[in-house]
Symmetry: C2
Subunit: 229 residues, 2 copies
């Protein structure tokens, strides 16, 4: 399979009624670069869709190729029922960076980077494009992995439901830094600050069914989940 | 304020059409204990609701008190519009435990523990109950913190929108362990196994505006986010 074409639209995103950050708008960002960095660092998205008006939110894997987000996995079955000419979805990715301890209970907060995407997801039918999406899923989670594994068979590709969502209506929201207390509270004798949070990897666990001595690949040994920081 | 009453309903959850795990049902669990452990370890939930049929998924903080989930924060503004006699929501909490590297691209997966809750969220109007919810938010994120901070004023309580969601229709879904490859693939010379993931805390960052020498509280020093493991 060829290299994935990661050409990115250079036009800024259009801010729409639904993608506009209404609460604490100073935390909003509509630049593709900021949005894509968050998407590329995250591992799981939360896909929301409505089934007969009832909202459903399912965590699932995803991959980005240029200005397309691909999703697959467990939303498939429930979504399938609603999927004819596309389904309205909201896809959210959240990275938690820290716990913000203020002097007042009221101003406790979290440091985070999140992206909310709105749009219509459509099923990918084309086999080539599906392969591209499957490659994006694998490479998104473990860069370097695709070149080593047994690639999907035609049957596996056909048996996978892949949805494509254009990255045209999205926004990022970011909080960072120390707590913002009320001025009167700064003199209180209460410790205040941030507990940083990070996702780290433990030592790789070899599959007990590994049948031969195979060295741990470098991309596993050196795996880190903060490519953009 | 009194200790929060953490009395838990001992009856098992009723499995409904929408809470039943349809895909990979062997991963499903409807026991309150399993569900509450995941809720208590998580920090952020993703709240899904529909506004004129359009799904919206917002990350936000939460707290559990007995068989109630309290949510507040940024969903408030958009939810408010739809909030009259309650709003249908789906609240999902996902903990990511590892990346599962199979020999075939197709069988790559993630180890995770997730909870999906369905129900009608209602605004909490009662001041006492709101206080209980605010205490639950703080203690959920940093146990021990509530006893030290400046407690919410009447004005702050009134200015906070708190939603309550009964934990009656929910399910957990868990994947753990090594990859499940096709039998024919086990002989391939491809490394396979799991990269464990964990949320860890970095060294606490003191607020630059801390005006006096205040020791780092023990609950910050010893903070860990895996209480149930």
């Amino acid at each position: 399979m060829n290299e994935i074409d990661q050409t990115i639209n250079q036009e800024p995103l259009t801010v729409t009624h639904r993608s506009q950050i209404k609460r604490l708008p100073q935390r909003g960002n509509y630049e593709r670069e900021a949005i894509y960095q968050i998407l590329d660092e995250g591992l799981v998205c939360h896909v929301g869709f409505a089934v007969d008006g009832q909202p459903v939110v399912i965590p699932t894997a995803y991959g980005r190729v240029g200005d397309q987000l691909y999703i697959h996995g467990s939303p498939a079955s429930r979504m399938l029922r609603s999927l004819q000419n596309g389904i309205e979805v909201c896809v959210t990715v959240t990275l938690l960076d820290g716990l913000v301890l203020a002097r007042s209970a009221f101003h406790h907060s979290m440091n985070y980077r999140s992206v909310v995407i709105f749009g219509t997801a459509t099923t990918v039918e084309d086999t080539e494009q599906k392969q591209e999406a499957l490659q994006a899923f694998t490479e998104h989670v473990v860069p370097g992995r695709w070149a080593e594994v047994r690639l999907p068979s035609r049957q596996e590709i056909q048996g996978t439901l892949v949805l494509s969502l254009p990255l045209t209506e999205a926004s990022a929201k970011v909080r960072s830094g120390p707590p913002n207390d009320d001025e009167a509270d700064y003199s209180l004798p209460v410790w205040a600050g941030v507990i940083p949070l990070q996702v780290v990897t433990g030592e790789a666990i070899v599959d007990p069914r590994l049948q031969q001595e195979i060295n741990l690949p470098a991309y596993v040994q050196n795996y880190t989940r903060s490519p953009s920081r």
